[in-house]
């Protein structure tokens, strides 16, 4: 109780960095306008190198646990030679990245750009309006032909990243490959075969299959040690993954990156709906009967991945088969399950602009044009191939016009260390042409099962103006926290469904209607 140096340290850090920001604010804010004029002559309009005289850029980036240092990655080594732009990365591990990123802005000690920065809509708007991030729309028009072409091809990208004032403060990772935008539903077909069960098609089928997995010893070791079903653990503020995976079976969609159904141009936040109650009751039944992983709410990501690879799990969700490659034949992807009211929808899925806020340029950057040209390359087939696959011959070979990792390189186990895409969220294009690793035949097949049930349009979270964004943030802070906590309790049986009315009343008290209206307005504006 007397020991809490860390909270002191953080408090002091924030406060003192704020104090510093106070002193240096003038220089920071005024820096926004001038660089555009002063150095535009240095950049070449097209071709490589981007600049004749080498320049240096500082970028802040997130590294996933599987990544190695960015300076060792072939893509950046090669690209530096090509472009004459030397990038110095400040790396922050995924754990604590959010904290470091926010402190960077709060203290106004900005890098030239943020790479793989995972900015949220609110952050982009807030720091953009504050002048810390510069508007990119004109730069994109002039210096980013690849990105511009993608934005013309998929109009929803531009809609999803432009603020109501018409500014773009951050550019996304773009995923034109359907299979990379949604988790598949993997079921243990070896167990199904052994127990002579047919593929589950409805939620009731699934229940029966899971019961059989639990009781009939499909792994044949004589012990009741099978894990019928598991899912990723929730991350605070980002919802429960298991709900996203199951909600489609109960007619609950996830539009605008939130718990929203769209029916006849009406926005409906469904957290208090009876359908949601049915879903939670179903999951509660699974949990109570030990069909659902009891560690689901507290396990670490590594535990979850280990369970995939163990072969002792009956049913789980993931985008690829990377994590259980060695036993991939045991599993197969299945279609979304048909729910009690006949709903069958793959509700979990990202828009084409999958990773919002993957890249942004700050006001201290002296070469915004160069920076824009630098990043634009990765939105081309050639650039994204370099990013994902490294050097031809050494890391990959081309078969039928599509790059594949060489077997030697995959076997070396170094693949995730040498590419910044491993771990997700990197600003680049993921298309059919560069997806051989994330989209092997088994994953393609699983995706085909989902395809008929994907929603026609997937709207990304809307961009609000700063005041509205702040309001949404305040409302969602309390609402999301409440919803996540109560859903977890409903599923785990720590809260009885007798309390459902109280739950609904509290949602009302936390102003769910006001939030719904804001989303409705945003939708109406978008439709016009």
């Amino acid at each position: 109780m007397r020991k809490n140096w860390k909270s002191y340290a953080i408090g002091t850090m924030v406060a003192s960095s704020l104090a510093l920001a106070g002193c240096s604010s003038n220089s920071g804010a005024s820096g926004g306008a001038e660089p555009a004029a002063s150095t535009s002559s240095a950049v070449k309009a097209s071709g490589f190198p981007i600049v004749d005289q080498p320049i240096k850029l500082k970028m802040f980036t997130r590294t996933a646990p599987v990544n190695g240092p960015f300076k060792d990655m072939p893509v950046f080594q090669e690209y530096e030679k090509m472009s004459n732009v030397q990038v110095e990365f400040t790396e922050a591990p995924t754990d604590g990245f959010q904290e470091k990123k926010n402190l960077l802005f709060a203290s106004n000690e900005l890098p030239d750009a943020l790479y793989r920065s995972g900015l949220s809509q609110l952050e982009a708007t807030r720091y953009g309006a504050a002048g810390q991030l510069i508007p990119l729309e004109n730069l994109i028009d002039q210096y980013a032909p690849n990105l511009k072409q993608l934005m013309d091809q998929y109009p929803e990208i531009r809609a999803g990243i432009t603020t109501p004032e018409g500014h773009i403060y951050a550019i996304p990772g773009i995923v034109t490959l359907d299979a990379a935008r949604t988790d598949k539903k993997w079921i243990n077909q070896a167990w199904l075969k052994k127990l002579n069960l047919k593929m589950p098609e409805t939620t009731d089928d699934l229940y029966n299959v899971l019961v059989a997995f639990r009781d009939q010893d499909p792994n044949g070791n004589g012990k009741k040690d099978e894990l019928p079903m598991t899912a990723r653990a929730p991350v605070a503020g980002q919802g429960l993954p298991i709900l996203a995976m199951m909600s489609g079976s109960f007619g609950l969609d996830l539009q605008f990156g939130y718990n929203i159904n769209l029916e006849n141009d009406k926005v409906n936040i469904w957290m208090g709906n009876d359908r949601n109650k049915e879903m939670l009751m179903y999951l509660n039944k699974l949990y109570k009967e030990k069909l659902l992983d009891p560690e689901m709410f507290s396990q670490k990501e590594a535990d979850y991945l280990a369970k995939q690879g163990s072969g002792n799990t009956g049913f789980f969700f993931d985008q690829t088969n990377n994590n259980f490659l060695s036993i991939q034949d045991q599993y197969t992807g299945i279609a979304p399950l048909k729910g009690p009211h006949g709903d069958q929808l793959q509700s979990q899925g990202a828009p084409v602009a999958r990773d919002f806020g993957a890249f942004a340029i700050t006001s201290v950057n002296k070469y915004p044009e160069v920076t824009m040209r630098w990043i634009d390359y990765f939105y081309s087939d050639e650039g994204s191939t370099l990013l994902r696959f490294g050097r031809e011959g050494e890391n990959y070979e081309v078969k039928d016009g599509i790059p594949y990792y060489t077997k030697a390189f995959i076997d070396s186990g170094n693949q995730s260390k040498l590419t910044p895409y491993a771990g997700g969220g990197a600003p680049h294009l993921i298309s059919e042409k560069v997806a051989s690793f994330i989209n092997p035949p088994q994953v393609q097949e699983a995706q085909k099962k989902l395809d008929p049930f994907m929603p026609k349009v997937r709207y990304a979270a809307p961009m609000f103006d700063e005041a509205t964004a702040q309001k949404v943030n305040i409302l969602r802070n309390d609402l999301d926290k409440y919803y996540e906590e109560q859903s977890t309790k409903f599923i785990a049986g720590a809260l009885s469904f007798d309390k459902w009315d109280e739950f609904q009343a509290t949602l009302k008290k936390l102003k769910i209607d006001e939030l719904q209206q804001i989303y409705q307005d945003a939708y109406d504006k978008m439709k016009k």
Binding site: M1, R2, K3, N4, K6, S7, Y8, I10, G11, T12, V14, A15, S16, L18, A19, A21, G22, C23, S24, S25, N26, G28, A29, Q98, E99, N102, L103, F105, A106, S107, N108, L122, E123, R126, Y127, A129, A130, G131, Q132, P234, A236, G237, P294, F297, S298, S363, N473, I474, N477, D478, K481, Y482, E484, E485, T488, K489, A492, A494, K509, L510
Partner: protein, 320 residues
């Protein structure tokens, strides 16, 4: 704890005598000592008083681009938002109750331990006991929480194995609303009692041995001697440590709570400091959480003043 001992000692000397004439002359004479004082003063100014400047963002809509001075004033808006927040009551209650229970339960334990060590005839056993209770203090919080989850795991943890062996149902300790505070406080005791008892043991060794002998002559039993000689001997230390503890009343073990938190125990584990971290640092709401932090500190200050006054009146010992 580390900082507590020098503070306590300093407080004692300061309270003795303060006024005097020719302060400057005496300062000039002992200039070397005052030079040494410069460093700590600078440290306090830079790291403890300097940041106070930033506190004003609690009354502003802080915008990092405009800086602290440039952001607009909004008065008590953020405080109001916090007081009206759905989570206000829960945060306040959790923060207060965890501290209150810690104070009631965890505070006396090191005193008891010190008394036991002091009474032990076998000095080597006393040393051994001290060392054993001492070691957990040096483990990092992450390791401690790891140990807790391993021991309390419902499927493989030894505690639940024992419960099952005795015929009970395994308990999901780490994911239960009811168990959180118990686990948190008792593991705190386990971790800190040895370390915290040092200062009491030191104080006990300062009690005049003649008092014990006199008590023995008068036929006082061992318990009587503890009650009438040992305890009164360390009361000033106890009171001062108590006051210092209360000064930190609202700062619970932030790291440890954060590590132990999950959706299922949030109802009892959500405290002001973790709330400040999750909304302030992770979501970038600096003004709002600065207001919450300020509110937290104000409660601390009020409690400290009250307890200090109370201690001065009743136990005649106080910080100032």
């Amino acid at each position: 704890m580390e900082s507590v001992q020098p503070k306590a000692a300093a407080a004692a000397t300061v309270s003795r005598k303060r006024q005097g004439s020719g302060l400057l002359r005496r300062m000039a004479k002992r200039y070397d000592l005052y030079l040494m004082l410069l460093l700590p003063i600078a440290w306090y100014l830079i790291f403890n008083y300097g940041p106070l400047y930033g506190l004003q963002i609690a009354f502003k809509n802080f915008n990092p681009g405009k800086g602290i001075a440039g952001s607009e004033w909004v008065g008590f808006e953020h405080f109001q938002r916090f007081f009206e927040s759905y989570y206000f009551k829960r945060l306040l209650w959790n923060t207060l109750s965890i501290n209150l229970f810690s104070l009631l339960i965890a505070f006396p334990v090191p005193i008891l331990l010190a008394l036991i060590v002091n009474e032990l005839r076998s000095k080597s056993f006393g040393k051994w006991l001290q060392n054993i209770t001492f070691i957990p203090h040096f483990m990092s919080v992450v390791v401690i929480v790891g140990i807790l989850s391993v021991f309390l795991s419902p499927s493989t943890g030894p505690v639940n194995k024992l419960i099952e062996w005795l015929g009970g149902e395994p308990v999901r300790f780490m994911e239960s609303v009811g168990w959180f505070k118990t686990i948190f406080i008792s593991s705190n005791i386990w971790q800190n009692m040895g370390w915290q008892s040092i200062i009491y043991i030191a104080a006990l060794s300062g009690v005049n041995p003649q008092l014990y002998e006199a008590a023995k002559m008068d036929g006082a039993s061992r318990l009587r001697r503890i009650w009438h000689v040992s305890l009164p001997g360390i009361v000033p230390v106890i009171v001062i440590l108590l006051i210092l503890d209360i000064g930190h009343f609202m700062d619970v073990g932030f790291e440890k709570i954060l590590l132990m938190q999950n959706n299922l125990n949030l109802e009892t584990s959500d405290v002001i400091s973790t709330f400040v971290y999750t909304t302030g640092i992770l979501k970038g709401e600096y003004s709002y959480t600065a207001a919450i932090g300020l509110f937290n500190s104000l409660i601390n200050l009020t409690l400290l003043l009250l307890v200090n006054r109370f201690a001065r009146k009743t136990a005649e010992t106080s910080l100032w």
